[in-house]
Amino acid sequence: MRDSDVLDKNPHISRSALEAIHGQVFGWALSRCDYDQAAAEDLMQQAYVELLTGKARFEKRSSLKTFVFSVVQNLARSRYRRIASRLRLVQAAGVEMAEEAVHPVEPDENSVLWEAVQALPQRQRDIIELVFCRDMTIEAASSVMGVTTGTGRVHYERAKKALRNKLSEWGKT
């Protein structure tokens, strides 16, 4: 950590360390905003403002990545709850959000699994995303989600079971 890099109000965070995890944090922000690019960018900026002003203070009780993910999660919860629910309503009404590029026309194992993940309850989806896609431990993921490790583990096991059931149903058809 270079001295000039260190944030004034957050002495345990450096700009270069944030830059190193920027892509991963943005991915998390994007998923918090139902993949709305503009909302995710705003959320990222807001998270960095919290770090710059020291409102969110890193005390090295977890990894920096876990901490910044938690900041994004908390901001998303407070600021984007209404926006996200509105987006979900729009999607539920049948408006597809440019998902064609991600899903092949013919459903295959991958797209079925992806859709199954999206259909999971919020917490199960979050823990699967954090553990499988963001390379976090169950403990770190639980910390980001603000639940105990035991609760996180239960969500994780249930999510995997639900995904396996979904895939086996798909295999029978």
Partner: protein, 117 residues
């Protein structure tokens, strides 16, 4: 079909990567905007704190001092025959003039030393 954890991880990571491909904004840009927003926030808070300080100062400067907190000013009473009772919204203002509102005494018809009692 039975996928192992590792297979599920691979599939989901690929799907996630597809979903996020090309979406990540440059760190420098995001950081610069955040810096500006943080500065704007500091300025806003500074202005709010400054205004609060000015208001507090004005309040203490304009606040009547302890000496003025008399309900009845003796000198005022001596100079005039009129006195206004302290009032607020619950107690309507009432002004007395002892020459105008002197109580009507019950007249006595009995005299004592040439004067009415």
């Amino acid at each position: 079909m039975k996928l192992s954890d590792e297979q599920m991880r691979d599939v989901l990571q690929k799907a996630q990567a597809n979903k996020e491909a090309g979406a990540v904004p440059a760190f420098g840009t995001t950081w610069a905007i955040a810096g500006n927003r943080a500065q704007a926030r500091r300025r806003r808070r500074g202005m709010v704190a400054g205004s609060a300080a000015v208001l507090a100062l004005a309040f203490f400067m304009l606040k009547p001092s302890g000496d003025d907190l008399h309900y009845i000013d003796t000198a005022e009473l001596l100079e005039t025959t009129s006195w206004a009772a302290p009032s607020d919204s619950l107690m309507p203002e009432h002004q007395y003039d002892i020459y105008e509102e002197i109580p009507v005494l019950i007249e006595s018809t009995e005299t004592y030393g040439g004067a009415l009692l």
